[in-house]
């Protein structure tokens, strides 16, 4: 297999696995930039996956081809509402944000499995009939060299994810809203003094993270898992959290980290077809993404500083 063919098989798979992580990590960036730690990303993905699958199974006949797209939007809305639980606990009830994030993780899985048992009478749902399919993107896939590499047999959702990252960057760094959101996470008292509604901004940020986490979970469910069970979302939310930190709480950094995870994952999947990787025992390739992440963080990424007020409840009037 030539170098070009290798790239051609790696890139679509890397994009495929990265998309859910990109969405969810962007959610994490919004929440943590506003000063609310979000360990609950995993639970938000679970909720998104559950809603996406249930909606898809229920409405596949009526909505036809549009089902997966409507399903991910519904998953976004439901997960955003679900994340309100975390928001209320962390912002209004001054809960330890790690604790309420953990509660979100347990709650989403518990609810999802309970309702699955309740509605389908078994531990996992059926396979969806209307998942996302890979396509050749019109026009772009006709570009020589780049077309076959990046735009053939890909999922549109992967490009939506990258687009979202750019939009998130623009919102956070180029708009007054973004400046306010970041200021609330760095120095809430100063922001408050300047007339910014700290609680309001944080609520919005957590709900954005809920929407994006739900989007990530539903995209994962409708491209990769195709059903919902206890084993649908197992750690992807934590990987996204890792991508947030790896990417230094920056939307494009988080996207880069998520792409890197996807790339590393794709290596272990297609290694048997690649000459110099075929002889490497599978185990080394399986753990490669995790080891490389540790080395990268320890080596050349350097010290990452979280937003200053991350994890600290804001209490009006206290110094």
């Amino acid at each position: 297999m030539g170098f070009f063919e290798i790239l051609q098989s790696i890139i679509p798979i890397a994009l495929f696995y990265s998309a859910p992580l990109i969405f969810t990590a962007l959610g994490g960036v919004f929440s943590e930039r506003s000063g609310v730690i979000n360990i609950g990303l995993e639970g938000l993905m679970v909720m998104g996956a559950f809603v996406g699958i249930v909606f898809n199974l229920t409405f596949a006949d009526t909505l036809g081809k549009a089902t997966p797209w409507v399903a991910i939007v519904v998953a976004m809305v439901v997960s955003a509402l679900f994340s309100l639980i975390h928001a209320v606990a962390a912002i209004s009830f001054r809960a330890d944000q790690t604790v309420s994030g953990v509660a979100i993780n347990f709650l989403a899985l518990g609810l999802g499995l309970f309702l699955t048992k309740q509605w389908y009478g078994k531990g996992q749902t059926d396979m969806v009939s209307q998942p996302f399919y890979s396509t050749n993107i019109p026009v772009l896939s006709d570009i020589p060299i780049l077309g076959p590499l990046f735009f053939e047999r890909v999922y549109v959702t992967s490009y939506v994810a990258i687009l979202f990252a750019v939009i998130a960057w623009y919102i956070l760094y180029k708009t007054p809203f973004g400046l306010r959101l970041r200021s609330v996470g760095e120095h809430p008292m100063a922001a408050d003094t300047n007339g910014i509604n700290v609680y309001g901004m944080r609520y919005i940020a957590v709900m954005i993270s809920g929407a994006l986490g739900g989007l990530g979970g539903s995209v994962f469910a409708l491209t990769i898992a195709l059903n919902f069970s206890h084993a649908t979302i197992v750690g992807q939310g934590f990987m996204s959290l890792a991508a947030v930190i790896f990417g230094k709480w920056h939307p494009l950094g988080a996207m880069g980290a998520a792409l890197f995870f996807g790339f590393a994952q794709s290596l272990s999947i297609i290694s048997s077809g690649i000459p110099f990787l075929a002889d490497v025992p599978a185990i080394y390739l399986t753990i490669a993404p995790y080891v490389l992440t540790i080395l990268a963080l320890a080596g050349f990424i350097g010290r990452a500083e979280a937003p200053k007020a991350n994890g600290i409840p804001y209490i009006k009037g206290s110094r």
Binding site: A89, F106, G110, A242, I283, I287, T293
Partner: protein
């Protein structure tokens, strides 16, 4: 007025009650009888010697992972890596248990120590990176979880066995299980491990509350800069905390390897013993004695829940929701305190 001590006791109790009430409301709204449901739960945990044995068996690793996470919390660290430390501890215990030949009084302690050392090593790496390079321990421990999972699967398949999905059974001399306990509890999988877990809790209490080392660990957790200024080595204490935390979690793995199962299967997903430990530690207020009580509650809920579908027709997943809500209420203790004070004021 309530004293702080009272609050610290009342908040978890009220949280548990609120969680159970919420569970009852959910059961009602789905057309189940909550009283039948909770009776089935209670009987499923205590109704027969077998169920009781299984409950205590489940409590054992929960105590240890709860301690692991609580210990790290005390030094201001969040050890999400207990999961991976459980897995390497399990592997190390079974490795020693299957390959070494020695009388029990050497073999069993050796296997337990191996598990603690393996878990400690798995905690040492994130501790070192945190202390020396300032890398966030959460992300490193998450990565270490995956590495533990895949590496231990690889070792079971390629080193300990010839491409099998599970190791051999450990030798009798390394087993925590005992026939008389099994007979007493109608052949549940209860084993001596509970003694190890309780001893570990006493050890944690003693270390943190009664020794200089513990004072330093807690001090670093409360205020790094003040501790540094007072002449303590922050990085040494961070590493130590992660190693001891990992050691506890490693022992939890040994409980599974030497007690419950007696072997180690390859895992396609995480065991969740470590992740559940986070909830145990939080409910237990990161205190050794509280962790024991919280682990007991979680063991009762988890094992009791298995009885709910057959007896009351309630899906056992309900318990996961109850546990989540309990954690939520514990986390929101501020609002419970506020409500209690309100009630108190109106009463006067």
């Amino acid at each position: 007025m309530f004293s702080n001590r009272m609050f610290n006791l009342l908040v978890p109790i009220i949280s548990v009650l609120l969680g159970l009430i919420a569970g009852a409301i959910i059961m009602l709204s789905f057309g189940y009888n909550p009283i039948d449901g909770y009776i089935a739960l209670w009987n499923g945990a205590f109704g027969s010697p077998y169920f009781f044995g299984e409950t205590i068996r489940q409590v054992t690793p929960y105590i240890l992972t709860g301690l692991a996470i609580a210990f790290a919390f005390k030094t201001g660290l969040f050890n999400i890596g207990a999961e991976g430390q459980v897995i390497v501890g399990w592997l190390a215990a079974v490795w020693i248990g299957t390959t070494v030949d020695a009388p029990m009084f050497i073999h069993l302690p050796l296997a337990l120590i191996a598990a603690a050392v393996a878990g400690g090593l798995w905690g040492f790496i994130p501790g070192l990176l945190k202390a020396k390079l300032g890398v966030h321990e959460v992300i490193i421990t998450i990565m270490m979880n995956y590495i533990a999972l895949y590496v231990s699967n690889g070792i079971i398949r390629d080193v300990l066995t010839d491409s099998k999905d599970s190791t051999d059974t450990i030798k009798e001399s390394a087993a925590l299980s005992a026939n008389w306990i099994m007979e007493l509890t109608s052949y549940s999988r209860l084993h001596y491990g509970i003694i190890v877990a309780l001893a570990a809790a006493v050890f944690m209490w003693f270390l943190l509350e009664k020794t200089t080392t513990g004072y330093e660990l807690r001090s670093v957790g409360l205020n790094k800069h003040a501790s540094e200024y007072a002449g303590m080595s922050v990085s040494k204490n961070i590493i130590l905390a992660m190693v001891i935390s990992g050691g506890f979690a490693g022992l939890a793995g040994a409980m599974e390897g030497l007690g419950t199962f007696g072997y180690m299967p390859t895992h396609s997903a995480f065991t969740n013993i470590g992740f559940d430990g986070i909830a145990v530690a939080l409910l237990g207020g990161n205190n050794a004695f509280g962790v024991i009580l919280a682990a007991l509650l979680f063991g009762v809920l988890k094992i009791g829940a298995l009885n709910m579908p057959t007896v009351a027709g309630v899906p056992s997943e309900l318990v996961e929701i109850v546990i989540a809500l309990i954690i939520f209420f514990v986390g929101s203790s501020y609002i419970i305190r506020w409500a209690l004070l309100r009630l108190k004021k109106e009463g006067n």
